[in-house]
């Protein structure tokens, strides 16, 4: 019996592979995600291992408030350089080298910064100690920079941007940009550093341009041979100041890798979520394709039954078939994932996320998860069709045109669909409206509700297909002549089949609509905030708009002609009420450029806190506020104001302190935004004046309100595009669902098509008929999915306390047009097959 199943499968290769495609795509996404993120993790791990391979112990700055361990602005503080000779003097230390570091961008020949998205690392190192194999930076060619006019850059920049030893290149750290002569080309460790650039200076220059005079950020320690790392570490601990810490090289590499792997894990979960959606859609496609093929094989099952096969054997043969298809599809998907990983990586690089990568990692976990998941999903999707196959009576073997008997549960179909949909809606409403539940519970309720809703609507859909096809097929029926009219009727002919096919597309379209609705709300809210807040003429940010930039650029503007006010927002981290939070700094001028909604009783100056934060911690104007900063210092301030920030985004975090205090507390203060008011407002002369004043600060850019709004929205747009691309995979899966259904339908209607051709239908009319049917199916998917998406968008928006609800009509029109195009694409192959039918064979076909 199993042999029969397998031989039957071989005899229906096309139909079997049609079923498989949905699984192949979903599993490719699963496997591709694992391969990509494993490769990135291995890349980071390889990078950090080689970075520290020359040293036995690493001394680094320690943030008093925890967390920030990197050398970013306002994060780990530097320590005094006098620590280095004391480390060297330790009895078990053979040698030690130190460096300073600060984010530094290289400036290209066009005067613009490179790698504004990926960022750049800057180091100041001791050239005399550089070659002793302790320091992670290795010279590839040329020499180390030895004075304030020289720089070394990374291999990738040198190759990609065509900079050689002896060329001049600009670099900008926390102050103004300078030009340096390239003394050497270097690499960091032995692994890829992704899109990040390197700028290396001699120690004194580094300390000067990073504003870290007399400081070091890292010391690499090499022990005498035979000294156990714990001994070395405890010796080092004895002389460290409180703002420094020591780890063995292995521990440091692991620590750095762990820091990054939490980030790669987020990427992994994020991508896996989309793989899950694609598989979910795929399971609809498989269930439908199997239902159709099983219906077409009614007589075959009946014949098996007349030959003595039991129901159980019929069931087993269908399930074995599904298992084989699922397993083979998973194997193909597993390997397709290798290619997809490369595509995903290119997608990320295109979006400005260029991460370090090792050679491709193909883990056992990837193989096991992909194969098991694909097989199990196919198996589950096959259960319902398999049970229906067992309902075939042997007598059907003798009947012309025998039909599959309805499922035993069919008469409960409508109540079950209604109950499911009602349960889903109840869950959704709970998630969206019950404000007593936690956000996590609410989002879980919404997530579960969405899944169940898709099932419920898919179950209801057969009843909606006929009216929908009547409306949506009207244009085709009106203008498409007989092929259009027949297509409309064909779509209504097997409502459950059309419904299942359209439901798969519905899921993808509903999700993109949710994304579009949320993004539109976010944008309109954000724009509302900007319009309400922005009283300045210009804004100044870093080139990419969200990385803080050194305060020198804003200071340079203060003296530019025509400038009346420059007021900045600093950003840093501090521990407040026992919790590490982001804080901002500003000055008393801020109300002149940003409209702030003050709670009555506030003095319009910092320190101020947000209304919600004040409520949460019982703060009032006049309350004391204590902050601990990374260097370990404690700031004791008195709250002077409470603000009511707009919902769509505020330049200030919950706690804002005066810039004067900020600059004393943080070693390298940086601005998130600066706002500028000028005599005469926005004019081209004023813009020119500002740009002239900023000539030496290529890392910063001046923008008008509109430009600022656009550039700040880029993040949303980027995320939006990423979500669209990732969701498009599940839409592609559902398109294959349409392709499957149409091909199987064409197969089933062979004789009918033959008759139509015999009575005078041209090939083109046949092809058009299939195309119209495909478009009608796609439009049904859109008609179900888009309203669901809008509703869900409103609910989700409500659940995440996000009141703006905007229907992006333009985008929705695009989605509908895309659905039509998708329908046409899906019809290409089936229409061609239908058109090619040999009339004679079609008529003789049994």
């Amino acid at each position: 019996m199993i042999g029969v199943a397998l031989k039957g499968l071989l005899g229906r290769k096309l139909r079997a592979s049609l079923t498989a495609i949905a699984i192949v795509l979903g599993i490719a996404m699963v496997s591709g995600t694992y391969v990509l993120t494993d490769t990135i993790k291995a890349g980071f791990s390889g990078l950090f291992t080689t970075v520290y391979q020359g040293a036995d112990a690493i001394v680094s700055g320690r943030s008093a408030i925890g967390g920030g361990d990197q050398n970013g602005p306002g994060l780990a503080p530097s320590f005094d350089e006098t620590l280095l000779p004391r480390v060297r003097a330790l009895p078990d230390v053979a040698d030690a080298g130190g460096n300073v570091a600060y984010p530094t961008l290289l400036v290209g020949r066009n005067g613009k910064v490179m790698a504004a998205q990926a960022g750049g690392l800057g180091f100041g190192i001791d050239p005399k100690r550089a070659d002793d194999a302790i320091d992670p930076l290795k010279l590839v060619s040329g020499r180390w920079p030895t004075n304030g006019t020289q720089i070394a850059i990374d291999v990738a920049t040198s190759e990609k941007k065509n900079f050689a030893v002896g060329d001049m290149i600009g670099a900008v750290a926390s102050g103004a940009a300078h030009r340096y002569r390239i003394a050497g080309i270097v690499k960091l460790g032995d692994a890829s550093i992704g899109g990040t650039t390197l700028a290396v200076f001699d120690l004194a220059t580094g300390q000067r341009i990073f504003h870290k005079q007399g400081k070091l950020d890292t010391i690499y320690v090499k022990s005498k041979s035979g000294v156990a790392p714990p001994k070395l570490i405890s010796e080092l601990r004895g002389i460290l100041p409180p703002t420094a810490q020591v780890r063995s090289a292995a521990a440091q590499a692991k620590h750095d890798t762990d820091n990054t792997s939490s980030f790669t894990s987020i990427i992994q979960d994020f991508l896996l979520a989309f793989a899950g959606i694609a598989l979910f859609v795929g399971s609809f496609v498989i269930a439908n394709t199997l239902s159709i093929t099983i219906a077409q094989r009614t007589r075959e099952f009946a014949t098996l039954r007349t030959l003595g096969a039991t129901r159980r054997q019929v069931l087993r043969s269908v399930i074995v078939e599904a298992l084989v298809i699922g397993f083979l599809a998973s194997v193909v998907g597993l390997f397709a994932g290798l290619g997809l990983a490369k595509l995903l990586n290119q997608l990320f690089v295109a979006l400005g996320i260029d991460l370090p990568k090792a050679s491709t990692v193909f883990a056992t976990r990837t193989i096991v998860v992909s194969l098991v998941l694909g097989t199990v999903v196919t198996l589950l999707a096959s259960l319902r069709p398999a049970f229906r196959a067992t309902r075939v009576e042997p007598i059907a073997a003798a009947r012309e045109g025998a039909l599959l008997p309805p499922s035993r549960l069919a008469r409960f179909g409508l109540p079950f669909a209604l109950v499911t949909s009602a349960a889903a809606i109840a869950l959704l409403l709970f998630g969206a409206l019950d404000s007593s539940a936690t956000t996590k519970q609410r989002l879980l309720a919404i997530g579960g509700g969405v899944l169940i809703l898709f099932f419920g609507v898919a179950l209801l859909a057969p009843r909606l297909v006929t009216p929908l096809a009547r409306v949506l097929g009207a244009a085709g029926a009106r203008f498409g002549g007989t092929p259009g009219r027949l297509a409309q009727q064909n779509a209504m002919r097997a409502p459950s089949r059309t419904a299942a096919t359209a439901s798969a597309l519905m899921i993808g379209l509903a999700l993109v609509t949710v994304v579009a609705v949320l993004a539109a709300g976010l944008k309109s809210r954000f724009e509302g905030s900007v319009h309400a807040l922005f009283h300045a003429d210009y804004a100044l940010t870093s080139q990419n708009g969200f990385i803080p930039t050194g305060i020198a650029s804003a200071n340079a503007l203060a003296h530019a002609p025509g400038v009346e006010v420059v007021s900045s927002v600093r950003a840093g981290e501090a521990k407040v009420f026992g919790k590490r939070i982001g804080i901002t700094g500003t000055d008393a001028q801020m109300p002149r450029v940003i409209s702030i909604d003050w709670v009555p009783g506030s003095a319009h100056v910092p320190p101020f806190v947000s209304k919600d934060y004040a409520k949460k911690h019982g703060l009032h104007v006049g309350s004391p506020l204590t902050l601990q900063v990374p260097s370990g210092r404690t700031l004791r301030l008195t709250i002077r104001g409470i603000i009511d920030p707009p919902k769509g985004g505020s330049p200030f975090t919950d706690v804002t302190i005066p810039n004067a205090v900020f600059d004393r507390a943080y070693a390298n203060p940086a601005n998130l935004y600066s706002f500028i008011k000028m005599t005469g407002g926005v004019t081209s002369e004023n813009t020119t004046r500002l740009n002239t004043a900023l000539q030496r600060f290529p890392d910063a850019k001046v923008q008008t309100e509109g430009q600022f709004e656009k550039s700040q929205e880029q993040g949303i747009t980027l995320l939006l595009n990423l979500l669209y691309v990732l969701l498009s995979l599940s839409i592609v899966v559902s398109l294959f669902g349409i392709v499957n259904t149409l091909i199987l339908t064409v197969f089933e209607r062979t004789r009918e098509l033959g008759m139509l051709r015999a009575v005078g239908m041209t090939r083109r009319q046949v092809r058009n008929m299939i195309r119209y049917e495909s478009v009608v199916t796609a439009l049904i998917g859109a008609a179900l999915g888009i309203p669901i998406g809008i509703g869900l968008g409103a609910l989700v928006g409500h659940a995440i306390a996000y009141p703006a609800f905007t229907i992006p009509w333009g985008t929705i029109v695009v989605f509908v047009v895309a659905a039509v195009i998708a329908g046409l694409l899906a019809a290409i192959f089936p229409a061609r097959r239908a058109g090619r039918l040999n009339v004679l064979e079609a008529l003789q076909y049994e």
Binding site: L756, A758, T762
Partner: protein
């Protein structure tokens, strides 16, 4: 309609099988010709070639003055629209269309409108006048074949091909369908070629062609069922 020296060979070389080995025939306007023969005699192949559904290995077929064996698919389709009607053994109606819509299908595919008087006359003559809005699933086999015949006549084709029109019907209904075919020849002068293996069906024809092994072996005019049976018995022997 004329056919000359039709040869249809399947396969190549030594294994080639000749279904037709050189058949020529002529069908006059308003004539009902039955093609008879044992199974495997080549009668279906002959009809398919005459109707332009299959191409002969050699030989020509002329319908309404046009040589059809060299036409491309599109021209053939257009020729079918204007000049050829079909009646199939299995009716081949579209299940989602009503009887009337099925009848009108050839016209609507061609994008032309029916003439109301002609349609009414046709529907009443084929006896489906009061079944217009029924779907095929609501009709008996005989009624379905009546719809199929009306469909084949609606475009007033130059020639109508009927392929075992009674093959799927009980004998009483089959007789009624044969009467209807004969009536359409008499009333409308509808030129008809019918392939059948039933002597009773052949008996309504003006002329019966007997085919065996790819050749026309006998021809009878206005034969009775008994005469046909006698010839068939001779062929089988």
């Amino acid at each position: 309609m004329q056919a000359r020296d039709l040869v249809r060979r399947y396969g190549e070389g030594a294994t080639a099988v000749e279904a037709l080995r050189g058949i020529s025939l002529e069908v006059q306007a308003g004539e009902l010709v039955a093609v008879m023969g044992p199974s495997g005699s080549g009668k279906s192949t002959l009809m398919h070639i005459l109707a332009g559904l299959d191409k002969p290995t050699s030989g020509t077929v002329t319908i309404a003055g046009e040589e059809i064996t060299s036409l491309d698919d599109r021209k053939l389709t257009l020729l079918r629209r204007r000049h050829i009607g079909f009646v199939f053994q299995f009716f081949n109606l579209l299940p989602m269309l009503t009887a009337e819509e099925n009848v009108l299908l050839p016209l609507s595919i061609a994008g032309t409108k029916p003439e109301q008087r002609w349609l009414d006359d046709l529907l009443s003559r084929t006896g489906i006048d009061n079944r217009r809005t029924h779907r095929p699933s609501e009709l008996s086999g005989g009624q379905q074949q009546r719809v199929a015949i009306a469909r084949s006549l609606v475009s007033r084709p130059t020639i109508l091909f009927a392929d075992e029109p009674t093959g799927n019907l009980d004998s009483r209904t089959g007789g009624e369908i044969l009467d209807l075919l004969r009536e359409s020849v008499d009333a409308y002068g509808q030129t008809t070629v019918m392939v059948t293996h039933e002597a009773r069906a052949a008996a309504i024809a003006d002329r019966v062609l007997f085919i065996a092994d790819g050749l026309i072996v006998r021809e009878l005019e206005r034969a009775t069922a008994q005469q046909v049976l006698d010839v068939m018995a001779g062929l089988d022997a």
